[in-house]
Structure formats: structure tokens, C-alpha cells
Amino acid sequence: MSTRAFTSLSRAILLGFLRDRSAVFFAVIFPLMFLVLLGSIFSDQRQPRVELLEIGSVALFDALPAQARSEFETAFDVRRVDDREEALAAVRSGDADVAVEMQGERLVAHYTQTDPVRAAITQGTLRAFVDGANLALSGTPPRFSLETRSVEDDSLQAIQFVTPGLLGWAVAMSASFGAAATLQGWRQSKLLRRIQLAPVSTRTVVAARVGVTVAVALGQMALFLALGVAAFGLELTGAWPAAIPLLVVGTLCFMAVGLLAGAVTRTAEGAVNMANFFVLPMAFLSGSFFPLDVAPRWLQTISQVMPLRHLNDGMLDVMARGEGAGAVLVPIGILTVFATVITLLAARLFRWEAT
């Protein structure tokens, strides 16, 4: 294999990609837009505060000691309403979660059952404050105390899950579109034939195309991770560098998808559309846009036959779930099988001529 021919071809292919605005848009900008979008949506994942209407003056709340008061305000968004009917109407129509009034020594909470979980949280929290007030009045120091700790790392936010999935989708798009468009474009313009008549081996040409695609994929990864860390508090966990070889194998697999699309279509546009036809539904079913944990079982089963599912899963394991490098071995194996089968199929269907 000639080094000079390889370098020169790689350079030509890379320049061709970087100067193709729509290719760069779909490979980099478009998925990054999704990252920004989903990253912003999910960056504040706490439950919104419960909206509480205080009917008249509720002595119990006013009497809360300073620390309890601040906890109270963390849990509730309090608004004072003097008209009882107006407050109840607001709860009924969903404008507020609960309306509270004092009837003598009794605290009465009017709540709505539309969101049972929220209703339960509201009741439980109010009860805790009433119990606390009772305890304070008894003058007995509390014997038991409660401290709460989240098992998740503070960093375990949606961005951790969103980034690997979107990265998988981005790489799937750029690898498959690139391969499909190159194969079709070169075939249309007879450049493929022209190169065949130059003293370079097929191996050199394929190596240059694969090299550029892999380099672009790694560039996408660097951009995604950099933006995630810098802007959305992404924290990489576990053996995240193990995602690199996984991503490389995934890239090869999607190049093969692109080659297949290029082999069965007649125009460059048709090839890219065909690749998109494979990749976009696959992205949805492989958890690129939403976590599959909440998806029905049948959908999870279907997603197992999609290469992107395994790429996303493996990246998630080492980048967000904190698993060791070994977690990528099975996905790498599965993707290798996919890549081999799809490449063989593409090679079988490949034709030199456009017509």
C-alpha cells in the first residue's frame, strides 16, 4: 500500500467532507442541536415545588422555626389567598396543588387527586410538618433523626444518558451518509472507474475512506464530550475511554449500512435517503432520543436487532453507568458481526456502473 496515495486520498476525502456544508450540518451541528435541546430540557430535573395556597393566615406555618421554615419553602411554593372559595376553585382547576386552612387546632388540606403521586407527597410533607410542630411543643428532644442521601452521584443527570445516545446517532448518520454518498457520487462521476485505472490498490482506497470516517467519528465524540462537559455538567464515569474502540467498530458497522444503501440505489441523493431510512427509525428504537427503560418490552426486544442499540448501550455502560472497560466487549462483538454481515451483503449487491 502506497503511503503517499493513502495520505493524498484521505486528504481529498476529508476536504470533500469538510467543504460539504450539508454533510457537516447533519454530522455535527444537527446532533449537537439535539444535545443542547435535550441537555437544557433535562438539566433541571427536580420535581417542581408544590403550589400551596394558604387560606387566610395559617398559624402553624407562621410558627415554624427558621430552619423548618426554609425546608418548608423548599418544598412548597406558598401563596396567600383570603377567599376560601377562590382557593378551592384554583385547586379544582389545577392551578394549585393544595389549599390549606386552619380550623381551630386542625390543619385542613384540600388537595386534588389528578396526580396521585403528587397528592401523596403533598400529604406526607404536610403531615411531617405537623408532627414536627407537635414534637417541638412537647419540649422533648427528638431521639431519632433522618438523614437522606441519594444513591446516584450528583452528576447522574439526564445529560449523562442523552450524550452517548445522541453521539451514537450522530456517528451512525455521518458514517452511513458519508459511505453512501461517496460510493454513489464516485460511481456517478466514473471516478470509481478512474481510480480503478490508476496504480493504487482497492485496499488503499478503502483504507483512506475508512480512515477518514473513523477520524470524523472520533472528532464528533470529542466535540460532544467537550460540549457536554463544558455546558451541561456532563461527568464521564468509569472506563469511558473504552467507548473509543466501541465507537470505531460502530462506525465501521454504519459505514457498511451506507455501502449497502449506496449499492442498492442509483443516485447519491437516493443513497443518503435510503441510509436515513435505516438510521432515523433505528435511532428512535435504540434509545438515542429517550431512554428505553421506560419503553414497552416488545420494543426493547425489537431494538436488540439494531446495531445502534448495542453501540448506545455499550457507550452508556462505560460513560454514564460507571461500568468497567469489559462492558464494551459484548457490544463490540455484536457490532463486528453486524458490520461483517452488512458489508458482505453490500459487496454482493455492488455494481461498478450507475446504470
Partner: protein
């Protein structure tokens, strides 16, 4: 030794005999034309000779060698222009010819010299998509010649050019042959064949109807131009 020896070449696509028992030879240093209307089989003959397609039967020798299976030893000795748009997308003229130079392991300086020879120095930084038809043709011929081949194949190099650009290109092509190369060119312009070729093979429907010098053909048939030769031979006044 002949640069090209072709004997009994046949290539069929289904029921269509695209090339039907074609034999000819091209001498070293000769400017040889294959002429005929669209669909006559010119391009197919060229692709068979280049080794891009396998013939159903017949024998082909190029520079004394077999062309199939892919003969890597032959590649540096032949130059090919397939069509004006056989370029790497979105590269400039200079990047384009340098890339081809690298494929043949030819120096960048020689690549740039070719750019000058075909008059594209001012367009060196222009992307191939933005070149005019004539400029693109000149660049694609320069890319075919960058490694200084002994034998050059040009497939309709002046197709879709205006007369000015065509005459320009003729000067360039004459220069190529004067440098001692063998040139094989296909065209459907009789005028072009008359102006450039020492001998022409006149093709229609996959067969060679006549093979001689343009002058001899005109004289033999007692007509005024090669256009008339063609009409005389095919007997069809109108073609689609």
C-alpha cells in the same frame, strides 16, 4: 509493436450486441479516432480496451500486454479520461491534479506544471464544480496526462463544448500527440475526427463500418466531408 491490438471483440448486453466483432490496431505514436453516433458502441470499445469490462469474446493487447485481470503494470503507462466530471468532489483544480499525481507517485511540481500547460493556473484555486465546461475538460485531460503516459484514452473530450473551447482543446490534443504519445479518442463530431485523427474507425450499431484515414474515406466515397461519409455509409439522413 502496435500500441493496441484488438481482434474479434464481442460484447453483448442481453439481446443488444453493443460491440459486434470489432478488430483494429493502433500504431505507436498514432492519433486514432473512433467515431460514430451516440450508442454506436464507441465507449464500450474503449472500456473493453482499458480493461474495465470483460469482453464476451475476442483478444485485446495493450502495449503488448493483457488488460484483464486488472494489470497493475499497465496502469502507469496509460492515461485515461473517462468523462469531464470524474473528479474528487469539492477540491480545487490544484488539489485535484495533485491528488491524481499522488496516485501515480508523480511530484507536485509536475502536477502544477500540467496545470500551467492546460492554461488553468489562474483557476488553480477554483473548485472543480465552479469550472466552466472547457476548463473542466482541460483539467480532466491534465489529470489523465499527469504521469506522462505512453498511451492516452480520451472519451469524447470535447462533448458539450462551444466551438471556441473545442478548437482550443484541439490545439492541446495535437500537442499531446506531438510529444510522441499514442492517442485514442472517441467523438461523434466528424469535424473533430477530420482535424485530429490520422486514422478513424467509423462505428455504428457495434460494428466498424470503415477504417482508414479521413482523407482516403472522403476520396473513396466521392463526398465533400466526413459528415457526408457518415451519412453515405449509414444511409440515414436523420438521427435521433
Amino acid at each position: 509493436m502496435a500500441a493496441i491490438e484488438v481482434r474479434g471483440l464481442v460484447k453483448t448486453y442481453g439481446a443488444l450486441r453493443a460491440v459486434d466483432d470489432v478488430s483494429f490496431s493502433v500504431a505507436e505514436g498514432e492519433f486514432f479516432g473512433i467515431i460514430g453516433p451516440n450508442g454506436a458502441g464507441k465507449t464500450t470499445v474503449l472500456e473493453l480496451v482499458e480493461g474495465l469490462r470483460a469482453p464476451d469474446s475476442g483478444e485485446i493487447r495493450v502495449l503488448g500486454q493483457k488488460v484483464r485481470p486488472r494489470n497493475a503494470a499497465l496502469m502507469p503507462r496509460i492515461g485515461v479520461q473517462l468523462q469531464a466530471s470524474s473528479f474528487f468532489e469539492r477540491l480545487t483544480a490544484r488539489e485535484q491534479i495533485r491528488t491524481f499525481a499522488a496516485l501515480y507517485d508523480v511530484s507536485t511540481a509536475r502536477a502544477d506544471a500540467w496545470l500551467e500547460r492546460v492554461g488553468l493556473v489562474e483557476k488553480a484555486g477554483t473548485r472543480v464544480e465552479d469550472l466552466s465546461g472547457g476548463q473542466a475538460q482541460r483539467l480532466s485531460i491534465a489529470c489523465a496526462l499527469v504521469h506522462d503516459p505512453e498511451l492516452v484514452f480520451l472519451d469524447e473530450p470535447t462533448a458539450s463544448l462551444d466551438p471556441q473551447a473545442r478548437h482550443n482543446l484541439w490545439d492541446l490534443l495535437r500537442g499531446i500527440q506531438h510529444a510522441g504519445r499514442t492517442v485514442v479518442l472517441t467523438t461523434h463530431y466528424m469535424e473533430e475526427a477530420e482535424a485530429l485523427c490520422e486514422r478513424i474507425a467509423l462505428m455504428d450499431q457495434g460494428r466498424i463500418l470503415e477504417l482508414d484515414s479521413p482523407r482516403a474515406l472522403i476520396e473513396r466515397l466521392g463526398v465533400e466531408s466526413l459528415d457526408d461519409v457518415f451519412l453515405e455509409l449509414t444511409g440515414r439522413a436523420y438521427r435521433t
